[in-house]
Symmetry: D2
Subunit: 314 residues, 4 copies
């Protein structure tokens, strides 16, 4: 049943898994969330789901990890579904030129985060999902959305990671309080932060994550159901935001090297999208200085080159 | 000889020209270069060159205008050809999150501009092209490169615009002196600025500009000659830089709305690339608050949507 | 018993009270603390206590008001007494060149506030006073210190103002959490903020405040007791900090116009010190754009000129 | 003829000269002006001129050095005499919270420097002195003013230092061009910079410099002539500016430790003023990290303490 394209992809994934296994410089595990600081850098996982439904999983592609900021792609999608373009009165659409947790830009721009993928922006998006509900309800809605997209009801939240972030997330608390002072958040700061820390603590494997990302590779529709998750234009626009803002202050570099929309998390995962072709998830816990998975980026660069998937030309 | 695809493009271009003619809010002409301040906002031109060689020109697509910062795409290409990846020790590859002429970022990053498409970065690139030669020689080389790419030996420099910029370009002089103080420029500041002001003053029509941009849409090769201008990987990477950094602090917005790599100039021109499909040039002198052509962006958004050319999905 | 100097001061104060009564542009009451927003700008009070013990009070000099940031002079004094120069590992001694609640500087300098008189610095100082105790105890200690210095056990905290600040003090919560993320605060953020909001809500009249400031005018000693509150060198240094940092981003202007060390609060009060000569308190609730009492500054400029009290020359 | 006060000062100066001779950590000579980089850190000079005319000179107090930024006190005085308070539309009066050559603040505040003692501010002041004249004339005026104040016609400009700065002063050229782009400079950038580089290159001994500063210690009058150089209020205000802004980003520290208005230069000199008491000049070429003379500051701290000259209390 495997056609030659599938065979080519299978070979590419196997080669990459082999190469990544041998890499000695594997980056540094994020230290600021205690629960994440003890993850071993030996892991490397990958999952690719092509538009025709073929699934290739390699390495530790079935080991769950903390998706962290990758959740921001899905909370953005959910929030756009709830409040539409009104969302853009609370969050901008420009790259920040700053680290993921910078507060300087917020002062210059009166509490409006530059984009929904830096921490401040994602907190503002979470606040829109909350919109007066109890944190538990909002969190349930986010989790069900992830389970639905991944077509897997076992996706869950790692409560220890969530608690660890809550105990130590002073910088995010600073960002949230700062935005609150400008009226950018509607809900109590603790409510919004609680939901934010918990959705960042969702644990998924590469396979589950690639499943959840399929709608972005397929013009907004979920192939499990054939129904639209979002309209095609919205899928394109989320991809555009991932391309320009998905890797914090390494976004330009990722576009330059990999040439695919993608969103990274400090847990070491990256979700990437080859529009019309594939949804891809990689994971390796060691990060580079911009906070993006070192091996994950290298693996995606190799995959995009081997498969000719760059959106910037053959 | 016109196939249905050509017919569809022809129709799309005609509709856009009509729509743009009727637009009342046409933006504001750049005032800081006196020679540009007197251009009429009534103009709108467009040229599209498909990969099979078909050329569609509409509106004022044969009227020459000052390409200004669009020249930065070509000087980057030329400099990469001369010094290769050593260029990236002088200039970064990240969006700046700042206006085109900001000097703040330079102080934070020790004189290294964030990317080759903000003014400081393009001045540093120009300095690499100069590399010890006389300004006249370097400028001749740039101009011949443009004529070669456009397949048109009549492309020329508007000396009055160049002189006007030289007289009033204090902010660019500040950027250049600032980089010089960090050792980022090798040549005398006046030499580098002289070449920079002159290549920004190159005058081209949309037709000529779209011709010059063909290699970026066609994996690096020039269809007039069939020879490679750059390797495919370099073409992809220049496209990636245009996508993330091509519209200053409006780059995220352009990616979000249009979904194509593009580079704008304060003369009101934009060069856009649909990889594998077409090279596109639009021109309308009125700018929005981020310094990008107001009608040009709208026209490109419409064209990309009508033709399904977004790189982020169908 | 009144000598000519006392007569001269009495006359000066009376003239100033008269002039201030007639001023039409009285500034704007701080709006961000709801309880303060309703204070009438009609008030003007002044109290001057000369080194020989003479007390001159004018206008509304016996009406209590919220001393707000003026409390920072006293918490600094108290904290220096408790931890000595170790305090300066947590807080700098340079003017900030920024508004009182700026967070930008904290990012640049890794969570270390520039000086003890901007909000972030005063929160860090409060944290040192807390040093493991319960908020109630620390607050009691601060209040007793104020009562002792003012020689008046009726000095108290306005609980409604404190509660109002606690409800709305998101920007201060941002500053505190931000410093906590850098390890600059030792205690739970809520504890430190609780004490901070309460000591800012101390209510005092000009008479009480001028009494409390006497030790700064008299080389560190409290004339009521004859004992040293601080050593002379420390008094000089606190005066120096008031001169360079006491009026936020209006400190240079205050030094230029008035020529005396001083500390303002957004409640409209200013404590000023003429070393060796007098302790002075003024109060008028209307603020200028830098957050300093408009009439208070004018009154002090007039008083310093009439009395020849500028520290910068006769 | 020497009274006890003179004896005390003589002893104090002698002790300080001895102590400074033995100091091993002498700071680092400014390297960015080649002509200054070769000065030996062994030098230490001091001169104190009391209000009654007594002159005490110690160490290398008669060796000329490059006064550099100390010249800014005198160009400010001269410019205020020419254009009065209109000067303050071009330059602010607040500490900058930034290094002496920062350009960031200029962008935030539209080309208006924060104060006349950072480089940008002093360049703007120099531009006001030029006001349409030839550089040579303006420079002559400045030099004659210095000779008049120092009561010494031999004060001169070190042309090699001036030429060295002109060749390498790219950062100052950046500042000047930047201000020019906002219309803050009236004259050609090269003219203004030429005068600026030359007045910074004035060479004086401590004795000459202390002579030149006498008017600031004596309410604006020149004791050689008995005539007013400036009105008393202006002298007070210049002193206030020196206190808040005279040592760049070390101004708060200088006020805290020394407690006297002062202005430093990267040549290692400092002019300090004890209002009503003395004009003081010290010189030692080694600088600390804020660009101020390391031994100069220590010597002034000791002198102020020994003599009880702090303006902040006995």
């Amino acid at each position: 049943m495997m056609g030659s394209s599938v065979g080519k992809l299978q070979t590419a994934v196997e080669e990459i898994v082999d190469e990544m296994r041998g890499m000695s410089e594997r980056g540094t595990v994020a230290s600021y969330i205690p629960e994440l600081a003890c993850v071993d850098t030996k892991y490397f996982g990958i999952a690719v789901i092509e538009s025709d439904g073929n699934v290739i999983v390699g390495g530790d592609g079935d080991v769950p990890f903390s998706i962290q900021s990758i959740s921001k792609v899905f909370t953005l999608t959910l929030a756009l579904g709830k409040v539409g373009n009104r969302l853009w009165t609370r969050v901008g659409r420009e790259p920040s030129g700053s680290p993921f947790n910078s507060i300087v830009q917020l002062e210059r721009e009166q509490g409006i985060p530059r984009n929904p993928f830096i921490n401040a922006g994602a907190i503002a998006v979470t606040d829109l999902i909350l919109s007066g509900h109890q944190p538990r309800e909002a969190l349930g809605e986010i989790l069900r959305f992830m389970q639905f997209l991944a077509d897997d009801p076992t996706v869950t939240i790692d409560q220890e990671v969530a608690a660890s972030e809550h105990r130590t997330g002073f910088r995010n608390a600073a960002l949230a309080n700062y935005m609150k002072s400008f009226g950018v958040l509607d809900n109590p700061v603790d409510f919004t932060l609680g939901v934010y820390f918990h959705h960042c603590a969702i644990a998924m494997s590469c396979r589950q994550l690639a499943m959840a990302g399929r709608f972005l590779a397929q013009n907004g529709s979920n192939p499990s159901t054939g129904l639209a998750v979002v309209q095609p234009e919205r899928a394109r626009r989320i991809n555009a935001l991932m391309l320009t803002c998905g890797h914090y202050d390494g976004s330009g570099e990722f576009a330059y090297r990999v040439g695919l929309p993608g969103k990274s998390g400090v847990g070491g995962g990256i979700l990437a999208v080859a529009p019309g072709k594939a949804s891809i998830a990689v994971w390796s816990p060691g990060l580079d200085t911009t906070g993006n998975s070192r091996l994950g980026q290298i693996a995606l660069e190799k995959l995009a080159k081997k498969m000719g998937w760059s959106i910037f030309g053959a």
